[in-house]
Each structure stands twice: as C-alpha cells, then as structure tokens.
C-alpha cells in the first residue's frame, strides 16, 4: 500500500484517508436526519396512511416472526448450555436461569433480532425502493402528485418502529423458554424452579431497557433501508450494491447504537 511506507502510516496519508471518511459519515448522518425530518413532517399531515403502514407491519413484522422465533430459541438454548457448563467449576450453575434471562432480555433478544430483521427487512426495503428508483417509479409518484417520503418512507419507519419491539418481546419469551428447557436438563432442576428464578431476576427496567433499544433499532433499519433505496443509481447492478450496503450499514449502526444506548440506559436505570 502506498500509504504504508516502511510500515509507518504518515500523518498526511492518514489525513487523506480519515478526512474523506469523516466527510462521508457526516453526509450520511445529515441525509438521514433530513429524511427523518421529512417523514416526521408527513406524519402530522392528514390523512394518516394506516393501510400502507399495516402492509409494512405484515411484511416486515409478521413475516419475520419465524426467523425471530428460531434464532431466539437456539440463542437461549446455547446460552444456557454455556453458562451451565461454565459456572459448574465455581458451584454456581444454579444461577444459569438468572444469567440466561438477563442476557436475553437486556442484550441478545433485542440485538440479535435487530441484526436478523435488519438483514432481511432493511435489505428488502432497499431492493424494493431501489428498483422503483431505477425504473422511474419514484419519479412517477412525484409526477402523479404524491410524495415518495409519505408513500414509501413513512409507512416503513412507523411499521418497523412498532414491529421490532413486538418481535423483541417474542424473542425474549422464546429465548427464555429455550434457555429454561436446557437449564432443566443441564443443571438438573425443575422447569418451575428456572421459571421462578427468571421472573424474580427480570425487573421492569430490564424489559424497558431491551424494548427501548429495539424501538431505536427498528427506526435505524427502516431509515437506512429507505435512504439507500432512494439514492440507488445504476440499474440492477446499483440495486445489488445498495442492498449489500444496507446490510453492512444496518449491522454497524445497530452494534454501535447498542453500545451507546446500553451506556445511556445503564446511566438512567442502573
């Protein structure tokens, strides 16, 4: 690499890499903020597009149920297995249920659900809107007297902000159930014992913590998916590139936001 001369990255070269990257990041954040502003403005302009929102809840939420259940069940089971075996040398395997419940509800439920749904739904949004963009359907919406943000972005934003927390609740329940079943066999306790242990451990702030995070994740998934779709150029090849970009951007945003939101909620709820 030219930038690495003698194994050292010169300050000037670092600037050439970092500054454009920062400029791009700033532009991305700015464009997404503008898109959010337009969507919020359209939300308060009657009539409210309930029908379009329900369609998106069905496609993005209900159709993601099976993948959510499958992922949550196996995550809960694997987590229980790891904790049961890992805690045994310390004589603490009885606490497996508590740790599984906390891990699922506060962290893995919302994050894994968001990553999977983000890959599935976010990429779908980009592919659909991107295809509409390159075939002039987005222009046609405007030419026919409507607003693409109102017709395409707003329903998806509202739908995913509502649907992802609901999917996360399902993931929490299924993950805890899967963890409880495995704990029963690995630690040799009754299901009632694990269930009681889990309900005693999980408090309202833990649930709020996880569900609030998923509200933000749902918003990011829809926003990034729509934004990439609307800026798609270059025919079908461009749609492919934009879709891949959405999966990457969504995953990175979810993981970064998870860290920041966890810090925030821990400061609020402890």
């Amino acid at each position: 690499m030219e930038h690495l001369r003698g194994g050292r990255l010169r300050l000037q070269d670092a600037g050439e890499i970092v500054l454009p990257a920062l400029a791009m990041l700033t532009r991305c954040i700015g464009e997404n903020a503008v898109l959010t502003g337009k969507a919020v403005r359209e939300m308060f302009r009657p009539p409210f597009e309930w029908r379009l929102i329900m369609v998106q809840i069905e496609q993005g939420g209900i159709h993601s149920l099976s993948i959510t259940i499958l992922t949550a069940a196996f995550t809960g089971m694997v987590l229980a297995m790891q904790f049961a075996i890992g805690l045994e040398p310390f004589g603490a395997s009885m606490y497996t249920g508590k740790l599984v419940a906390l891990g699922i509800v506060r962290e893995l439920g919302p994050v894994l659900t968001a990553l999977l749904v983000g890959g599935r739904v976010g990429a779908g949004f980009t592919a659909e809107i991107g295809s509409m963009n390159v075939t002039e359907q987005v222009d046609a919406i405007r030419a026919l007297g409507a607003d693409p943000v109102r017709k395409l972005v707003l329903p998806r934003l509202v739908a995913m902000t509502l649907a992802l927390p609901l999917l996360t609740i399902v993931a929490d329940l299924v993950g805890c159930f899967g963890g409880a079943v495995i704990t029963m066999y690995e630690v040799d306790v009754t299901f009632t014992f694990v269930f009681q242990q889990m309900t005693e451990t999980i408090e309202i702030p833990d649930l709020v913590h996880g569900i609030m995070k998923s509200v933000f994740f749902g918003y990011f998934i829809a926003l990034i998916g729509c934004w990439n779709g609307l800026r798609t150029q270059g025919g079908t090849e461009g749609v492919g590139v934009a879709t891949t970009r959405t999966v990457v951007y969504t995953s990175v945003t979810i993981l970064t936001a998870d860290f920041l939101l966890t810090r925030l909620f821990l400061a609020i709820y402890g």
Binding site: M132, T135, E136, A140, A143, L144
Partner: protein
C-alpha cells in the same frame, strides 16, 4: 399566434462536472405537439423533468401556466402536476398494484371523486387507449406496448392540459409505434391536449409533430416545423432529420 403556456428561459443544468444545459430557451404553445430531438445523452428527458420539478435547474427560469417552477412551493407543484402529466420511458407503472390501482393513483391523490366515479374513469381511459377490461391485471403481465398504453391511460386520467412523453415509442414494434402515435394525435385532436415529446424516432416526429426542437451543444439549436428542419443550414440537423447519417459521418 398561439398562447405560450410553457417557457424555458436561459435554463442551466449540470450533474456534477457534466454540463447538460448552458442556455435552454424554448416556448411551448397551447394545443401543439412539440417534439424534442437530439443525440443520446444530450439531456432531452432532463428538459421534461425540469419542467415538473423532478429535477432542479441550476439557473434561468421555467414558467408553466404563468407559474414559476423553481420558486413554487409544494402545494403549487402538486397543482402544476395536475395540469401537466408525464408518460415515462418505461411507463413506470407500480409493480405492486393492479392496472386499475395504477390508473386510480393520481385520481386518489388529487381527490378526483368517489370510488364509483374513479372506477368509471378508469374504464373510460382504458377504453380510450383501446385496452378495455384489463383492470385486474398486474404490470408484470403486460407487454411493453401495453405498459406504455396503460402508462398513457394513467397520464390522461386526471384530464391534464399538457402531457410530457419521454421516448413513447422506443423499443416497440411498428404496430405499437403506430398505435401510440395515433393515440398522441387523437388526444391532441379530441381533447386539445398540448404534447411535449422526447424521441429519437424520426417516423414518430414526422407523424405527430407540429414543431420540433433540436438539443445540440447544451442548448436548443433549432425550433421550427419538420419541413424547415429538412432544409435548415445546420448540417447536423438536416442529417439528423434525414435519418441520423450526420451522426454516423461524425463518428466515422
């Protein structure tokens, strides 16, 4: 002299470093069919998109029905788009909707009437483009020519005063080309609609045009009748009108 309803004055447009228009000046008269011709990629479609605000001009002024497009607010643009419809190159029908819902789309947006009245209007315009009874079909089930005609039905549904046609006959077989040309002519004759047509197809130009405009070297290099174009001093125009031999010569 016919009333000027659309006016481009000194319009400039660039995409990044690529300058498309340095000085686009053109008047469109009420009730005429004006065809815009020019080589590929010179910005013919850009001209249509600038007119209805799908693209923003970098300079100059565009007026339609006395309204300045660049400074119009959203409500003003919605009203303008009710008066000026567009048929897109690939028809741009919404894949997720039936033919009826596609045609109803502008009617719903402009609160045209009751559901019954809109259904009646859908049947009427489908009849007008000679495609009755296909309301329930999806765009994926239509051929290229059928899509263009449904696109045209959608464009005329709201009873616009001006229709913009972006390459209306490109990629169609000769029968469909004649059919589309016939529709453009009949809309002008029967409904008095003003048409602004972007095309490469010289047969279409000579069939439907009252006046033609040539986009050349980032401006409108000629405006006049097809007969005037044939004998014009600009060699590029003469050869373009006679079948594109000028372009071929230059390439060679």
């Amino acid at each position: 002299m016919a009333e000027t309803i659309i006016q481009f004055q000194g319009v400039k447009k660039a995409f990044g470093d690529k300058i498309v228009y340095e000085d686009l000046s053109l008047d469109v008269h009420k009730g005429e069919t004006l065809t815009i011709i020019g080589g590929s990629g010179v910005g013919k479609s850009v001209c249509l998109k600038l007119l209805i605000g799908l693209l923003q001009a970098d300079g100059g002024t565009i007026r339609a029905f006395g309204q300045e497009v660049q400074t119009s607010n959203e409500a003003g643009m919605i009203m303008l788009r009710k008066r000026i419809s567009m048929l897109f190159q690939g028809a741009a029908l919404f894949d997720s909707m039936s033919v009826a819902d596609n045609i109803k789309y502008p009617l719903v947006e402009h609160k045209w009437g009751t559901t019954g009245e809109m259904d009646k209007r859908v049947a009427e315009v489908l009849d007008l483009v000679d495609m009755p009874g296909i309301e329930t079909l999806r765009p994926a089930e239509l051929s290229g020519g059928m899509k263009k005609r449904v696109g045209l039905a959608r464009a005329i549904a709201i009873q616009p005063e001006v229709i913009l046609y972006d390459e209306p006959t490109t990629g169609l077989d000769p029968i469909n080309v004649r059919r589309i040309n016939g529709l453009i002519l009949s809309l002008q004759d029967r409904l008095g609609i003003t048409s602004l047509v972007v095309t490469h197809d010289m047969d279409t130009v000579f069939t439907i045009t009252n006046r033609l405009a040539l986009v050349h070297e980032k401006r409108i290099a000629f405006v006049g009748t097809p007969d005037e174009a044939k004998s014009h001093e600009l060699r590029f125009l003469r050869e373009f009108v006679q079948g594109g031999r000028g372009t071929l010569d230059e390439d060679l």
